[in-house]
Symmetry: C2
Subunit: 228 residues, 2 copies
């Protein structure tokens, strides 16, 4: 790690013993994150509405990853990453709110629409996907993170390091510290505190800009925060 | 310049002959940008509501910078940067819409509110400051850029390079190319196309997150886009 990476993460907790669940763990983003954490030695559970699909995805990922239905995945985990499409976001969290009680819930969902001109941010009544999660899950500790991470890079076995910063937004300092530390478990990544939950919307929406950048420059763009 | 910087800017136009006007050129952000461009050899005009204040600011900046009232500044310039507080944004552009006709107008205004918990994004009826500018200035070519640049760094004579990428949003390719090239005239900066004007809101609002980052890490944070 470079000097700048170490400066930003002097006091983050040891998260190596935490179990990470990934709801939507059969999707590209979910599988990509699950695989990277499993490679780093983390215990990972992937969840799906259909448990047989979760078991299959887990077997393909290997590295001790387990698969089960979303509710069991939530109960089994200390930290639960929500990596489902925006269309199913509210309904899923409503269903699982009891299973997610007491967990750190990491929302990485981007409410985006697409048309001929590309991607654009959708309006969300609660302000953002992360704030919707917080409203639906009063017994969980909701954090927003991993919005900008390219699933293509995560899943590419030739990519040793996913060189990007992960903006972590939330109002619970202990929870954001843990999620920053979990980002730092993935080679190349660094978790950077990015502000309170009320400022989640623009982090989610910025994914539309990154999609435009990827199109213009034929890239898998990520972000680095300078001077920290 | 590093390899990655050159890859992103192969075909940008030569902008060294353009006159840059800065409305709000007596404020910190405006003076900082004016000074950096003047140092790079660009012709710069700073505008203010009060022409005597503009003349004074120009004299302090030196390097051939001229000062005049905002309307004259707009007419004198090829590219006009709007660096005024959000509260005066709409009224100023309404007043100057004739003077700004035919110009590239670069909006770098961040509609933010502040309270005890820090900064947060304000709702804008048109979606963003840049889209408000576009609505008020149908005869101008509106681009959003320079939202995240630290005025402190811009104005610090000990800072040789302002190492940051500038996200340039807009619907007019020629205009965004010119603004990207103008960003590239400032040592350390790179202009990166960041999507269409409808995706300006989150670029402006992200300034709230950078303010949170600056507070947490005691930094002057900027952004770099990776993989381009």
């Amino acid at each position: 790690m470079s000097e700048s990476v170490r400066v930003a993460a002097p006091d983050l907790p040891d998260v190596s013993g935490l179990v990470i669940g990934v709801l939507g763990g059969t999707g590209e983003q979910g599988r990509g994150l699950a695989w990277r954490w499993a490679r780093a030695g983390q215990q990972v559970v992937v969840g799906s509405r259909a448990p047989d699909r979760a078991v299959l995805a887990a077997a393909e990922l290997g590295l001790g990853v387990r698969g089960m239905d979303n509710a069991a995945c939530a109960r089994e985990s200390d930290v639960v990453v929500v990596a489902v499409p925006w269309t199913g976001h509210g309904a899923l969290l409503t269903d699982l709110h009891g299973d997610l009680a007491g967990r750190i819930v990491v929302d990485c969902v981007n409410p985006l629409g697409f048309d001929k001109q590309g991607a654009f941010a959708l309006d969300v009544a609660e302000g953002s996907a992360a704030e919707q999660a917080a409203a639906l899950l009063p017994q969980s500790r909701v954090v927003g993170a991993f919005h900008h991470v390219s699933a293509v890079l995560l899943l590419d076995p030739d990519v040793e390091r996913v060189d990007t910063d992960v903006l972590v937004v939330g109002d619970d300092r202990e929870a954001t510290d843990i999620v920053q530390a979990l980002a730092g478990r993935i080679a190349g990544m660094r978790g950077v505190y990015g502000g309170r939950l009320r400022n989640a919307r623009q982090v989610e929406a910025l994914t539309a800009n990154l999609i435009s950048i990827n199109r213009r420059y034929r890239a898998h763009a990520g972000l680095r925060v300078t001077d920290i």
